[in-house]
Amino acid sequence: MSILVSGRVYTLKDSLDLIERCLHGDEVAYAALYRVYFYDIYRLVYGLLGHREDTEEVVQDSFVYAMRNLARYDPERASFRTWLFTIATSRARNKRRRLWLPTISLGQLLQIGVEPAVPNQTARPPETHAEDSNLQATVRKALCQLSPKLREAAVLRYFEGLTYKEMGQILNIPHKTAESRVRLAHKVLREKLEVED
């Protein structure tokens, strides 16, 4: 991914240089960092939440948090993209939890010995867009039907260059767990898409 900012092309490899400049208060560097990572973060969060409005809120929140805490980023522990993905995933989870809460009624929770009904995984129905192809609409619907854990695994899987180790770092799980979740998500997605086809 390369981005043109103020007459200069920036890529992911320039992240450390950009971070250094941000820490010195360079506003152009902040804009460049945002532009380099915006589409990746947006795609990740939208894949996890499936709703544009919620996605934009979480994307902004993630960038604000990351940019305010740039000094805490340790390049020796993870790549900047992994660090940013971790922040965005965590915030998307929080957002999803907040959306779930009102869907569980008090009556359900107070029924002793009865498991509360599993709330709808997405409080909002998956959006449809006029510009979507049939396959994209089907994929969007299939993604929203996955459990949150499998959806996280599936969405992260389709980011190029993300290893299972990095997925494990982002989801805070062992990389073997990440592998098994991807395997399961892949199987479920294929089944759903075959049914839709």
């Binding site: 589409y39 894949g47 994307v59 396959l135 994929v139 969007r140 993604l143 991807v182 395997r183 892949h186």
Partner: protein
């Protein structure tokens, strides 16, 4: 030819196989048309799924630019105004303090002058007989007492100090007694 690798194809496509097994799948598919076809089919489906997921989650045009001002407002350092440097602030503060001080001093002086001009002793009047006391009674209110100018100090000329010390003569025990006393 080795056994078919159907069970490994999913994991191969997902990148879950260790290097050794990965090579084994590739070597087998190179010689087995059936497994090669399965592998190609699986790769196509995987690529299609990946493209669909990426396409389905891409940000609409213009959203990046539309959201940046909100992020920038929360993140970017606030601009510093250098048109009013610190020394000017200090100078302005000093000038203000000076004006207040001069004004306060002028007010005090005017008030003192007014007090001096308006201070007059008031003779008590009323039921008391003027003959009850031979001297007029000066009625001082609390305010006039508080603001009354101090009476002139009574200057007493100090007595001159002795310029030389002349102690009384003391009898000297070692001196011989005066004859004839």
């Amino acid at each position: 030819m080795s056994a078919h690798v159907d069970s490994l194809i999913d994991d191969y496509v997902l990148g879950l196989l260790p290097a050794g097994e990965r090579r084994a799948v590739e070597q087998h598919a190179a010689h087995c048309p059936r497994c090669a076809k399965l592998l190609a089919q699986e790769r196509r489906q995987e690529a299609r799924l990946a493209a669909a997921i990426r396409g389905a989650t891409t940000a609409p045009a213009g959203r990046m630019e539309a959201l940046w001002p909100n992020v920038a407002a929360a993140v970017l350092p606030r601009p510093r105004f250098n048109w009013w440097p610190r020394w000017r602030t200090a100078l302005a503060t000093l000038a203000t303090a000076l004006v207040i001080l001069v004004g306060a001093m002028g007010t005090i002086n005017r008030f003192d002058g007014w007090m001096m001009a308006t201070y007059t002793p008031t003779t008590a009047s009323g039921s008391a007989s003027p003959t009850a006391s031979s001297t007029p009674t000066v009625l001082l209110t609390q305010d006039s007492v508080a603001c009354r100018p101090a009476p002139p100090a009574v200057c007493r000329t100090p007595e001159p100090l002795a310029t030389s010390y002349s102690p009384q003569p003391q009898p000297n025990p070692s001196a011989p007694p005066l004859a004839g006393r």
